[in-house]
Symmetry: C2
Subunit: 417 residues, 2 copies
């Protein structure tokens, strides 16, 4: 169960109410016209789970202990986020390793930790021609001496758009391909094959994740989750005042989830709107309680130009206690003795939330009763729907990313010289 709370005032006058209705209609239209297809993934991807589970009985997969994902951005962040969140609950899961940065030091380090005979390689690129991914794929082929025509085919999977150059390449060699629906952008693709294939291969229960996603999609379209509309209306109509949203997540294993969220918002909401204005909210990820000792001062006493969203896990399903030890002279720290670390981290979350709200910073909270697969699915779809609604109110194309083309052209020019 996921609860959503807000500590900020927002007067829903007629104007705001209309905005909310219009945004809802636009999202319904996007869904019906097929402009965005992520709403359907929770249902459509069930087939992928079934297929991958069948595949998993092959000797090559049974003998593997590592899934190497070669992909960047939308092709890695989602699976990485879910792996980080669930890893401690799945001690038997195969290791996931991500080749995402063309950083030579990182590549060398990862190679040193791998054994080809125990690895399944998944190359993921929506366009099929992402320069980082293809360069990494080549060095993986070369380093592990992968024979694309022979036995190694079994340890290779490609995930890409139907008809892309990577798709054709895989077909040519008879490599297994999973496709991404054309109307699902990279940053919205975690519940497509992009996330589902590697996570199912690793051993995660993706059906439950999809179920959680399906639940909130259904409820949203039935207008039973209007708090998402309200939050979108607040942040979109106030974006020039509150230019940043800080996602303050209270658990170390949520770090990669905040990175997924940063991509989702950064690429979706940083746009030139339909009137030609530059608009957009800056997303920031923070980890509690670490960043209480880092970034919090700026939120509390700095400019009121941010909103803050807390994520709290009520039950970590871990009962480590703060022992009842008194360190001589440091008795002032004893007030938490005998409590669990679960209680401490959540009390820190609540205390920080109250302190920030008292400063007049708009604050809201997402509370997971526990870290379950269904809650993760719900959380993902909550954020994706929120992004679509915010984009609708900002009057932008939420699903494209034209801004990054210039850098790619300059890059190619540098090598042509």
């Amino acid at each position: 169960m996921v609860k959503f709370q807000r500590d900020f005032e927002f007067n829903i006058d007629e104007n705001i109410s209309n905005l909310m209705d219009e945004a809802f209609c636009r999202v319904v239209e996007e869904c019906e016209n097929g402009v965005a297809g992520y709403y359907n993934l929770p249902e459509d991807s069930k087939m992928i789970v079934t297929e991958v589970e069948a595949l998993s009985s092959s000797e090559t997969i049974k003998n593997s202990d590592t899934i190497a994902v070669i992909g960047i951005g939308g092709s890695s962040l989602g699976a990485k986020a879910i792996d980080s969140m669930l890893r401690h609950k799945y001690p038997q899961a195969k290791r996931l390793i991500f080749f995402e940065n063309p950083d030579p030091v990182e590549i060398s380090k990862k190679f040193a930790s791998m054994d080809k005979e125990k690895t399944i390689f998944i190359v993921i690129s929506k366009s099929g021609s992402t320069i980082e991914t293809m360069s990494l794929f080549k060095v993986v082929i070369s380093h592990f001496n992968l024979d694309l025509n022979g036995d190694d085919k079994d340890r290779l999977i490609a995930i890409t758009d139907e008809g892309s150059v990577l798709c054709r390449f895989a077909d040519r060699y008879g490599i297994k391909v999973y496709t991404i629906p054309h109307n699902v952008g990279g940053r919205f693709s975690v519940l497509s094959a992009v996330g589902i294939v590697p996570l199912t291969l690793a051993g995660y229960d993706c059906c439950s994740i999809l179920e959680g996603g399906a639940k909130i999609v259904r409820r949203f379209f039935n207008r039973e989750e209007d708090h998402i509309l309200l939050k979108a209306a607040f942040i979109a109509t106030n974006w020039e005042k509150y230019r940043m949203n800080v996602l303050f997540a209270y658990a170390s294993f949520l770090d990669d989830f905040t990175k997924w969220y940063v991509q989702l918002w950064g690429e979706s909401l940083g746009k030139i709107d339909k009137s030609g204005n530059r608009v957009g909210l800056t997303p920031l990820g923070q980890i509690g309680s670490i960043d209480q000792h880092s970034f919090l001062q700026l939120i509390i006493e700095g400019p009121i130009d941010k909103t803050v969203t807390f994520i709290k896990i009520e039950d970590f399903e871990n009962d480590i206690l703060i022992p009842d030890i008194t360190l001589e002279g440091i008795q002032k720290c004893d007030f938490v003795n005998g409590h669990t670390f679960n209680e401490l981290i959540n009390a820190e979350c609540d205390a920080t939330r109250e302190a920030i709200a008292q400063q007049g910073v708009p604050v809201d909270a997402i509370i997971l009763d526990k870290l379950s697969e269904t809650n993760i699915g719900e959380l993902i779809l909550y954020y994706e729907i929120l992004t679509s609604l915010t984009g609708a109110i900002l009057n932008i194309d939420t699903y494209n990313q034209p801004g990054v083309e210039l850098g790619k052209r300059i890059l190619a020019d540098k090598f042509k010289k």
Copy 2:
């Protein structure tokens, strides 16, 4: 060697020139009056290196392979950043493990990977009574059954302010203590015992790091590094327009360095100024080229409300090649074939920098010829001096952090109920 470049126009009129002179004078004064003491660390900490090296001949330390640091915020981020940057160059270095978050899942995971007989435990808290640190220290004592009165004393070190409660506690049990100078705040303390003790124990060459720091301090006070003054003047006088600074670091191992920078700026510059106004710049860390596929769209087409600083390592000292392989149908990616990944990641950095500058975003760059210990020392002091100068121009107390007290009081109240 570290080079600093800027791609933005800044007209140094009389007014700006005066601001720069005044800021310089205030920093000189802070140094001479002992308001801030970090300038002296590159010289003063040499003694600590010598002492720790002597200590390292003890059997307990010789037989250890892990240094566990119990500390949060300024007590962990600096050593963590340097460890991340240098690890691949020191295959023999002892493992550093950080207990910083009272997250029960993380604590359990770390315990499972440790062996008391091979671990040195360092508890770090400037005040001596940080609630997270003391709670973690207690669970470490209890889990490993540390005998503070007996043999385990040898594997324990405390680092704290002179006369703090932790200092008195350590003295009472005869535990080795290193002190942090009173005028060195947590976020400026990486080159004090806080960073130098664990890093030297792990086997890193801290003398060279200190040397790099000393070099830029000396040159700054001789007014041979005025570009720092200029950058401080630009960001401080334009903070309402450019509210964020994105540190775009092109190397995965710089991720923890960007977290150190976020604390340094967030806690130092997010303040109520001497006229009672809320001021402050928001720091953001990004990793190239990963975040080119995540956050870049927002920089390129979103609001021009950010400055961007690039960090580039010219020579990664690693010659992995992008193999000369043509993937049938994906020939458009072949333009980088035969080049090194070192070249690719740096060309991406340059291309992104050009693309961003073309949008009118103020851009500057920090270029390290290679990742050497002296360059790291220089980089750290560059950022610390920049922070002091920016704080001087913003007319704030750069070195306090009053904003986080409220949350601590609310936290204690929650447990009293």
